[in-house]
């Protein structure tokens, strides 16, 4: 694992580089998305109904962020830290397992 890549979530912090020599040659794996959550932009939130999900993963392919991950049990989970609520997943889902609901904040 690249050290700059870090681990997501619990206690995740962006690695602070103090001198120019510590920087990688190319601007890769900066870790900025670890602290820069983009999920608070949305109004509507996708909710997955596992009973209707057939594990086709079309939502996973189409998610532009990507905020959809595949859970250990094979169903899809949504990473609400990064989901912008675009609704593409709900639109593409062939079994209508994903619905967009107004988010209560």
């Amino acid at each position: 694992m690249n050290t700059l890549f870090g681990e997501k979530k619990e206690g995740a912090t962006k690695i602070v580089l103090k001198s120019v020599d510590e920087y990688p040659e190319a601007p890769i794996t900066l870790g900025t998305t670890l602290i820069n959550f983009t999920g608070d932009w949305r109004t509507f939130i996708p909710v997955v109904d596992d009973n209707k999900c057939v594990k086709c993963y079309i939502c996973w392919k189409f998610c532009p962020e990507p905020a959809i991950y595949i859970r250990e049990d094979g169903y899809v989970g949504i990473d609400y830290d990064y989901c912008k609520g675009c609704g593409i997943c709900a639109n593409e889902c062939p079994t209508k397992a994903i619905t967009m609901e107004k988010e209560e904040k």
């Binding site: 694992m1 920087y23 040659e25 190319a26 601007p27 794996t29 900066l30 998305t33 820069n36």
Partner: protein, 395 residues
């Protein structure tokens, strides 16, 4: 293996295509535009004839996509190549920053063509020079041989410093004009240009990287500095690679400014690309007529050969900068660069700008002779008549 060149009569564009083939490029993504088209046609022909292995041609719908595809391929670790001209290069502009910012050693041939309107397909350097600040290295070829050699060297330099490079040739004057080009046997090209060792790859699944993530003000600055450091390193690498090329194949490119009969010259003509062939011939004639003149051909415009220009300026009384390009509101672009370099030095020869050959206007030996007469008068008088001389203007 002993070097025995393979001599072929080819156009500048075919020279570029053969160089890409010999460099064993793995991905070519390009869109046809006059006068570049025959480069990618020839590459498509290599593929159709089965002459190349492991070369993927991506037919795209625009130059912006061509560069995007090259960026993707290069980030995945492939050796990527493309070619374009004028408006096509301008359309690529946004992606050019992307290539250099992500430190991808893509090589592109730009066939210099005037920007429209008025619509023009003829030679003019403004298209490539307008990409000056994109972080791409730029090599200007004088003839078809230099197009071929330039592409091979550009790959080596680019992959050493991890910056993209542009090899620039003149529309029609080189692109469609046939000349003898000494090509290098594949085994020796392989020796000169081994397979690419990428800085990172998107296909290394054990060490995943994210490319193009957000760079906040806390980090962006350092990466710009790193690009500049790579450009500085490129100055050294270019000279080493040029020297190695000379030792292996007999054509030395260790100088970023090629000096021609400048040793005892009173003044020199400085310029880039194919027009310098005309200038060299004119220098020979002028020498016979008693003018002590020389030619200084700027081979690499980015990184700019500052030290070499400084050395040259110390030993001459005047520099006539021939610009086949123009930066509106100011002056010729090479002239602007050259003056900028010399400002903080002790070397301050008289330097005058001649705007020549825009949009493919003929530039001949007799033009150089007229410029020599004018330059001689300027030096004798010790002051400029005009700083920027629109030499061809119908008055």
């Amino acid at each position: 293996m002993e070097y025995k060149p393979i001599r072929k009569v080819v156009s500048g564009n075919y020279a570029a295509a053969y160089a890409a083939k010999h460099a064993r490029v793995e991905v070519v993504a390009a869109y046809p535009i006059t006068p570049q088209t025959s480069i990618i046609e020839k590459i498509a022909e290599f593929i159709a004839n089965g002459e190349v292995e492991n070369l993927q041609y991506v037919a795209v719908e625009s130059e912006h996509s061509a560069m995007a595809a090259c960026i993707g391929a290069s980030a995945a670790g492939a050796r990527a190549f493309t070619a374009t001209s004028a408006q096509g290069l301008a359309l690529m502009h946004e992606m050019l920053h992307w290539a250099s910012g992500a430190r991808l050693p893509i090589v592109m041939v730009d066939v210099n063509r005037a920007m429209a309107p008025p619509w023009s397909v003829w030679d003019d350097q403004t298209d490539s020079l307008a990409q000056r600040d994109t972080g791409w290295m730029q090599f200007y070829a004088e003839n078809n041989q230099e197009v071929y050699d330039g592409v091979l060297m550009a790959f080596k330099v680019a992959e050493t410093v991890n910056l993209p490079a542009m090899v620039v040739e003149s529309a029609f004057i080189l692109s469609h004009t046939y000349d003898i080009v000494e090509m290098i046997p594949q085994e020796l090209v392989d020796e000169f240009l081994p397979p690419r060792k990428p800085l990172y790859t998107l296909t290394d699944f054990d060490n995943p990287v994210s490319v193009g993530a957000l760079g906040t003000p806390a980090d962006y600055y350092e990466f710009r500095y790193k690009i500049e450091k790579a450009m500085e390193k490129a100055r050294k690498v270019i000279k080493e690679v040029g020297k190695e090329f000379g030792e292996m194949f007999g054509r030395d490119y260790s100088q970023m400014i090629e000096l021609y009969r400048t040793d005892d010259a009173d003044f020199v003509f400085m310029g880039m690309g194919s027009l310098m062939g005309t200038v060299k011939q004119a220098v020979d004639i002028l020498r016979e007529e008693g003018y002590k003149v020389g030619a200084a051909k700027v081979r690499w415009f980015r990184p700019f050969p500052k030290d070499e220009l400084y050395e040259l300026a110390k030993n001459v009384e005047g520099i006539a900068v021939l610009d086949r390009n123009f930066s509106f509101g100011q002056e010729g672009i090479l002239f602007n660069e050259a003056k900028g370099v010399l400002y903080n030095t002790d070397a301050r020869p008289i330097i005058k700008n001649y705007i020549v050959g825009l949009g493919g206007r003929d530039f001949t030996v007799s033009d150089v002779k007229k410029i020599a007469e004018n330059m001689k008068a300027v030096i004798e008088k010790g002051e400029l008549d005009v700083e920027v001389d629109w030499y061809h203007l119908k008055r």
